[in-house]
């Protein structure tokens, strides 16, 4: 495989919580000199249907992507799915399920806030909330701040929203991995040491997690990541080597308001492709789905 230029397999658009539309992100990808990319919106695959239509076929190359928020009794995970067939009912069913759980959770929280604290939420606010692809705690919190019920977002989350305890329904990593595999995709653990993005899992705990997920069908680890130190990158690579997993590279770009630079994965272009990434791309190439 010979990619001259940047590779970034982890970014978000307005389909989830990014600020660039799928159209905008394609032009940014071109500007950044990225030659291979994937859009990995949270629990949604709309971009995988839109973006191929915007590309010419002679680069940049696009790999379908998604990032599922998962949970089981041992913790929270973000599982990336790559190169699935967007038309597959397995991946679509997974997305629907995730969305259903999410809406149910938001409703339960809103009801709780109304009942326990007597907050009132205007209809137009609630309509806007549910119209979001990925409504969640931060959006409820923002609404509360706008309405003057909390002094800031942390106040809203810690002192109100988090007080409700209900039996949450969630997509398990096993379901996500199985759905991705069945739709022809490659499941990869996102930012492994950071769990769901706000956690820190190290040492034996991390190793046990990788062994468990590999048992469920996981095929790769996101080793090159904008938010990793050189040490964490090296540790992820050696974890992947020990367990025979692919490695991938992603920035987790979310748009203009954040400081993550598109294409910044901490993978140096000059060093050539790491072996685990090379094998990952080989597998994608063999399916012919990404056009290279």
């Amino acid at each position: 495989m010979n990619f001259q230029g940047k590779i970034d397999l982890h970014m978000h658009t307005t389909v989830s919580d990014g600020t660039d539309t799928p159209e905008e992100i394609v032009s940014r990808v071109r500007e950044a000199g990225i030659v291979l990319f994937s859009v990995t919106d949270h629990d949604d695959i709309k971009a995988a249907k839109i973006i191929p239509k915007l590309l010419s076929g002679c680069g940049p190359f696009f790999v379908s992507g998604v990032e599922f928020s998962c949970r089981d009794s041992s913790g929270k995970y973000h599982i990336l799915g790559y190169n699935y067939d967007p038309k597959s009912r397995h991946i679509r069913r997974l997305v629907k399920k995730g969305h259903r759980f999410r809406i149910k959770k938001v409703k339960a929280r809103i009801d709780f806030l109304k009942k326990s604290f007597g907050f009132r939420f205007p209809k137009e606010e609630l309509d806007a909330l549910f119209a979001l692809n990925n409504p969640g705690k931060p959006h409820i919190a923002n609404m509360m701040v706008r309405l003057g019920y909390a002094k800031d977002k942390s106040d809203a989350i810690n002192n109100y929203i988090n007080l409700i305890h209900f039996k949450e329904e969630y997509v398990t990593p096993g379901e996500a991995i199985k759905g991705i595999l069945k739709s022809g995709g490659i499941p990869v653990l996102a930012h492994p040491f950071y769990g769901d993005g706000d956690d820190l899992i190290l040492g034996d705990e991390m190793e046990a997690r990788v062994i468990r997920l590999k048992g469920l069908g996981l095929k790769g680890l996101e080793a090159f990541y904008s938010g990793f130190t050189p040490r964490l990158i090296m540790d992820t690579i050696s974890l992947a080597e020990r367990h025979g997993l692919y490695v991938t590279a992603g920035s987790d770009y979310h748009g203009k308001n954040k400081m993550v630079v598109l294409g910044d994965t901490n993978l140096s272009e000059d060093d050539g492709l790491p072996e685990g990434l090379e094998r990952f791309l080989e597998e994608i190439k063999e399916t012919g789905r990404a056009g290279f």
């Binding site: 800031d152 950071y194 993005g197 706000d198 190290l202 130190t229 040490r231 308001n257």
Partner: protein, 517 residues
């Protein structure tokens, strides 16, 4: 630019905080950002990522005042390898605390009954503290009793390291408040010094004091008459390499009595080298610094100049294992050469020569130094030789001296016993006959040789010429009552030693015993 981090940074507030930072950093043209984490209680990986993102734009980044939990997170995730991360240090006040010690790099205060803090002069002392911890650990492993610091603290603008020192009293304190313990102090002080100097340090672990002394000599050379300057440098260069430990600042404030144990502190000057370099700095502590103004030692050590002189003299005598004033003076002169060299350089570097008092000091030391250089040929001395009055009462001292010197030779117990028997025989002979009816001295020299591994013990006295080997061996076939009185001792000695040789030179009886090991 310094940015304060407060409370908790996690996914709940990281976006707001990021926007705040973006606003703050907008238009900031510099490269360096310092995060003050002294009020930060918690940081999740969302916060860690934010720090990495900012570092991409501001490569010169540091985080200060990090509490120990958060420091651990920074360490485990490799942040400490990427940027300067400084731990938050406990703040300790030394106001009203007793100063119990003072070294080249800082002062030591007692902060409570059980703890002392060494406050470093240097503002950027963290690497010094690290160095001292490492050498103290090394010393402890090599068998030197010392205290190792367990915490680094902030004292005003400086850093300090904290040691546990329970009910300890420095030797300076003991000497100035309990003069009756003078002889005991000398003995313990000498024993510890000998222990330090008999400790072999693995190569490369400690700096070589000879190199440091050479820089002093080369500096001072330019201020001396050409011939004296060159001779000084040559003498320092000619001191043979020595891989034994020296403390570098061995004075009575750095030796503590904790319960019944004598502890060495202030380890940052630890080095390897010939003992003459140690003696040079000891000379300064007791005499050199105070020669012009006798109050200096009182102020620094708490005891007066007269006590200081006596302590230095008796220490040298004990250390060298001799009461012979000529020998003591000879070694002291070598120590003075190193001591004055160091003092001259110190004053010139600190005050320059414009200052009148500095000129006076330097002139005083220079005159002495030049005179000493003239009459000295080299800076080495053997402390494998002792001189005592030749009386039977001194036999235990001689035996102890010999057995100490034998330690490095790893003798078998049988050989040790045989050597001890021979030493007794010869020393008793000298005591009984050499000066009769007057008194005189005998010196004993012990050399451990290699190839073949052997011990050579030489007895020298200035008594009447007497060759014990000239006598025939006693005829053992005769019944005891018919044998000649005496002569049996030397016979036994010849039997158990591998060689016994006698010479008479320059009015001295020289008897050499060799035992192969």
């Amino acid at each position: 630019m310094t940015i304060k981090l407060t409370g908790s940074i996690d996914s709940n507030n990281v976006n707001d905080f990021e926007n705040e930072l973006i606003a703050k950093l907008q238009g900031y043209g510099g490269q360096s950002v310092e995060f003050d984490a002294s009020s930060l209680d918690y940081i999740s990986s969302a916060g860690l990522r934010l720090i990495l993102r900012i570092r991409k734009q501001f490569p010169v980044m540091s985080v200060t005042g990090v509490n120990s939990d958060i420091y651990e997170i920074f360490e485990m995730t490799g942040f400490t390898e990427m940027m300067k991360v400084e731990k938050a240090y406990r703040v300790v006040s030394i106001e009203g605390c007793e100063e119990i010690g003072r070294g080249a790099n800082g002062k030591i205060y007692r902060i409570d009954r059980d703890n002392v803090v060494k406050v470093y002069k240097n503002a950027n002392a963290l690497s010094d503290i690290q160095h001292e911890r490492e050498v103290a650990k090394l010393a402890l492993i090599l068998g030197i009793p010392t205290a190792i610091s367990y915490d680094v603290v902030k004292v005003g603008d400086s850093y300090g390291s904290v040691f546990e020192l329970l009910n300890a009293r420095s030797f300076s304190k003991i000497l100035s408040t309990e003069p009756e313990k003078f002889d005991w102090c000398v003995k313990e002080y000498v024993d510890l010094l000998k222990k330090i100097h008999s400790t072999v340090v693995p190569e490369g672990k400690l700096p070589d004091m000879k190199e440091t002394a050479l820089t002093w000599a080369e500096f001072v050379k330019d201020y001396l008459p050409a011939e004296a300057g060159e001779k000084l440098v040559k003498m320092v260069k000619d001191v043979p390499h020595d891989d034994h430990m020296i403390h570098g600042d061995y004075h009575t404030k750095n030796v503590e009595l904790q319960n019944d144990e004598v502890l060495l502190i202030d380890m940052d000057t630890l080095a390897v080298g010939h003992p003459v370099f140690e003696l040079g700095s000891m000379f300064n502590s007791y005499i050199g610094f105070s020669e012009l103004d006798h109050n200096v030692v009182k102020k620094f050590q708490g005891f007066d100049y007269e006590t200081s002189q006596r302590f230095w003299h008796d220490t040298l005598s004990g250390y060298l294992g001799t009461t012979c004033e000529t020998k003591i003076r000879e070694v002291e002169d070598k120590a003075r050469i190193i001591g004055y060299t160091r003092l001259i350089r110190r004053t010139i570097r600190r005050k320059g020569l414009e200052d009148e008092s500095a000129r006076a000091e330097v002139g005083f030391w220079k005159a002495r130094l030049v005179e000493l250089i003239e009459k000295t040929d080299n800076l080495t001395f053997s402390f494998n030789e002792m001189e005592v009055e030749a009386v039977i009462e001194n036999l235990p001292e001689v035996q102890k001296f010999v057995s100490e010197r034998l330690k490095s030779a790893e003798c078998l117990p049988k050989a040790k016993m045989q050597i001890s028997l021979a030493v007794e025989e010869i020393f008793v002979n000298i005591s009984n006959y050499a000066y009769k009816p007057d008194k005189g001295t005998a010196s004993v020299r012990v050399e451990v040789k290699e190839d073949p591994v052997s011990v050579v013990i030489t007895f020298i006295d200035h008594g009447v010429p007497y060759d014990p080997l000239a006598k025939d061996d006693p005829d053992l076939s005769l019944p005891a009552e018919m044998r000649e009185i005496g002569g049996l001792g030397i016979f036994v000695t010849k039997k158990i030693m591998d060689d016994v040789a006698y010479a008479y030179r320059d009015g001295q009886n020289i008897l050499t015993l060799t035992k192969n090991l």
